[in-house]
Symmetry: C2
Subunit: 332 residues, 2 copies
């Protein structure tokens, strides 16, 4: 930590960098990414009761997740000279694919460092998009993620979460939400590394929008809930579940000040609630949504979410077809 990041700030000061971001910074990001990003629809959740819930369907983005916004925005902030050696990242999932596609559009090379636990189909997807994959033990991989040093001459390191260009790119979702729903009062966002919720919250704050920002977690691993209780990041247990896009074992230290400042509440949902949300989204709204995205709907439906006009951010749709069908076909 504390390494130089791509926009010149130090990682430990990312809170300061993001707090200083203006509405113009977010608007510029929206302009930079718009040719390759879907303005995702905000779809009424048809099974909602008295509370109006709308679904920000980021599962419909290219490659099936919001990550393409961040990846495109980060690269657009770097000169061809800076990118001459390519870029590298440490990611096991959607961000790596987004960065690889963004790099291909820019004509540069990507090296993706993955833990040996990364699914074979995710590695294959990166290779198919033209990226190189380097496999590490989980501990070595985690050191790269935290230290931002790959030990190779593989170009500029792009952190998948605590990178100003990533957070501001994610914030373009916040601008769209504010523009597309005048009565919006609450936004529910899945918490992975925290880059999505802080990006959306920062954009709304830059706009002077009063919407309440709620992060949501899955009961099998809820590090933000634990950090809020302890007043600082702490290690938590993690049980595996079909919800694989969120739920790390600890909030990243450099993300904590941002999360503490920008998140108004955290809602934890059960695996059963997340499964029910996957089923409802498929049958009522005809959307294929991965576990993390379904958690946002489940949290929006919970009593603890007291907003009247609630946007649930469906972060992605990359769920194994077998897992999806097992959930959808199970009797409710």
């Amino acid at each position: 930590m504390g390494e130089q990041n791509v926009l010149g700030g130090r990682a430990s000061t990312i809170d300061v960098v993001i707090a200083a971001a203006s509405l113009g910074d977010f608007a510029a990001a929206a302009e930079r990414v718009k040719d390759h990003v879907l303005r995702s629809p905000l779809i009424p959740f048809t099974a909602a009761g008295e509370k109006a819930i709308r679904l920000k369907a980021e599962n419909l983005q290219p490659l099936g997740s919001f990550k393409i916004r961040a990846a495109l925005n980060v690269l657009s902030g770097l000169s061809d000279e800076a990118l001459a050696n390519g870029v590298a990242t440490a990611s096991a999932g959607n961000f790596a694919q987004g960065l690889t596609l963004a790099a291909r559009l820019r004509g540069i090379h990507v090296t993706v460092h993955v833990p040996e636990s990364a699914a074979a189909n995710k590695r294959a997807a990166i290779t198919a998009l033209g990226g190189s994959v380097v496999v590490h033990s989980f501990d070595d991989w985690w050191r790269i993620l935290v230290g931002r040093e790959t030990g190779r001459n593989d170009g500029i390191f792009i952190h998948p979460v605590s990178e100003p260009g990533v957070i501001i790119g994610n914030g373009t979702i916040g601008l769209e939400l504010a523009e597309d729903w005048a009565e919006l009062d609450t936004i529910v966002v899945p918490l992975g590394g925290g880059g999505l919720v802080t990006g959306i919250a920062s954009a709304l704050r830059a706009k002077g929008h009063p919407a309440r920002i709620i992060a949501c977690e899955i009961a099998t691993a809820a590090p933000l809930t634990a950090a809020r209780a302890a007043g600082a990041p702490v290690q938590v247990d993690r049980r595996p579940s079909f919800v694989d896009g969120i739920g790390s074992t600890r909030v990243l230290d450099e993300m904590w000040p941002l999360l503490e400042r920008l998140v108004d509440d955290v809602i934890v949902v059960s695996v059963e609630q997340a499964e029910e949300a996957v089923r409802a989204l498929a049958t009522s709204n005809h959307l294929v949504v991965e576990g993390a995205g379904a958690v946002a709907l489940a949290a929006s439906l919970s009593e603890r979410c007291r907003g009247k006009n609630v946007a649930a951010v469906l972060s992605g749709g990359n769920i194994d077809p077998g897992v999806f069908c097992e959930i959808v076909q199970r009797p409710a």
Copy 2:
């Protein structure tokens, strides 16, 4: 046929009524339905090759199909006085649900006449929305559909296809397509009764837009292909398949002049091609699409579709979860 329809034209002259519709008529319909209709996204088909294909995702509409547009538009053209006795229709599927929802929003009663072959879950959906269901033998039901006479005092009869307000309501999709994609040159639309393809085509012609209009059919029942070959509607065989939203046994006589004038080509796809499209839409684009909608993608991908910028209209998402999962999980 030849009965009075709700907008005062005679059914046999619907071609004349629609040919006279101005761009203003379609724009007024768009304005009337906008509070309860999703401006459906136009999503790049991520697995496309050289041809750019975009998906008009009408499966994301309330109740899972484009029919809500037509139903809302028809009712908005009628006075409270005219609607005092409620409305009736003859439909086994999505239109009945759309009309029932539109009627509920307007506070009036709906009677839906269905053939005894109509699926139990579709009847239940109508009842759940507050409509009444009357079951007939297939022959009696067909007589109602063609003759527009239910034999009951159940209000104004709304034909699900050959009704000016229905066709103009469907045309709002055409306006959105023209506005959302400047380079659009071809539109591929599933052919059920013909109200969708003629609505979209009419709106584009009213706008002076040159896009090529391609209807698509499933090989198990292709009445428009047969009518074009014969120069008039003829009876065709129909084998059952999972594609249940299109593929009747004959083009309606009153729709033939419209179809003959407005449709530039027809593409027939196999059940296997439709299944492959269902699978691709689920895995590449995270959309649950019913057979009829998938036929539009399959036709867009075929060699016979020679457009460079092709919009495939995904008409609906109402597919049985078991059928959907069986197709999605089958090895390609």
